[in-house]
């Protein structure tokens, strides 16, 4: 695993998130569910907890966008770059942007929203890409992951616990 330079991390364990808009590819509750499931992946191995906001500025603002969307990192249409996220910090930092030119799905028929959200949340919490091909934080999308049996690799767990420690006993 690796972290961003100077290891930015949240200085609190209670974090807020907000889903700013939705993709037309999925029902809203499917998006909500994928994001909640992705948050639980990290909650289970750290002392972090997440609470949803419906308005105002959350620590992690989650949105779907096309092409140029105001942060100088344009999306590139279908395929290639699926999403990006920023390391912990104020404002834009911590936020997650999904490329709405992808076909977001609940299963493996398109781009699975849960898998990408879980990866991007890793960035939002301070993890950088891992060179370990088994890790969730490996940069390439792995469409062959068996979703029902998804679990973080030990590399991911070691990475996130190097920043926040293990969950309380």
């Amino acid at each position: 695993f690796s972290t961003f330079p100077s290891m930015p991390k949240w200085r609190k364990t209670y974090l807020t998130y907000r889903i700013v808009n939705y993709t037309p590819d999925l029902p809203r509750d499917a998006v909500d569910s994928a994001i909640e499931k992705a948050l639980r992946v990290w909650e289970e191995v750290t002392p972090l907890t997440f609470s949803r906001l419906y308005e105002g500025e959350a620590d992690i603002m989650i949105s779907f966008a096309f092409k140029e969307h105001g942060d100088f990192y344009s999306f590139d249409g279908p395929g290639h770059s699926l999403a990006h996220a920023y390391p912990p910090g104020p404002g834009l930092y911590g936020d997650i942007h999904f490329d709405d030119d992808e076909k977001w799905t609940e299963d493996a028929s398109g781009t699975n929203l849960f898998l990408v959200a879980a990866h991007e949340l890793g960035h939002s919490l301070g993890l950088f890409h891992s060179a370990n091909t088994e890790a969730l934080m490996y940069p390439l999308y792995n469409s062959f992951t068996e979703l029902s049996r998804f679990r973080l690799s030990q590399d991911d767990v070691n990475g996130i616990q190097s920043l926040y420690g293990p969950p309380p006993a």
Binding site: F4, H80, L82, E120, H123, H129, P139, L140, Y141
Partner: protein, 81 residues
Amino acid sequence: CPLSGAAKEEDSNRDLAQQYLEKYYNLEKDVKQFRRKDGNLIVKKIQEMQKFLGLEVTGKLDTDTLEVMRKPRCGVPDVGH
């Protein structure tokens, strides 16, 4: 003169590699430098990418490397923050 099929494909692969290395491996956005085939720089960047992504480190745009460059991925660069 019109390009032959093979030359077109080679150009297309080179463009793909250039864009990929610029976006994810901090290759300086200098088209002229790339077109002049600054061998050391490009080879080094390809090797860096191959090493990071667990490919055989050849420094060449081989089939496996090009295939990985075409795969969907996270938009956060692998190096150079």
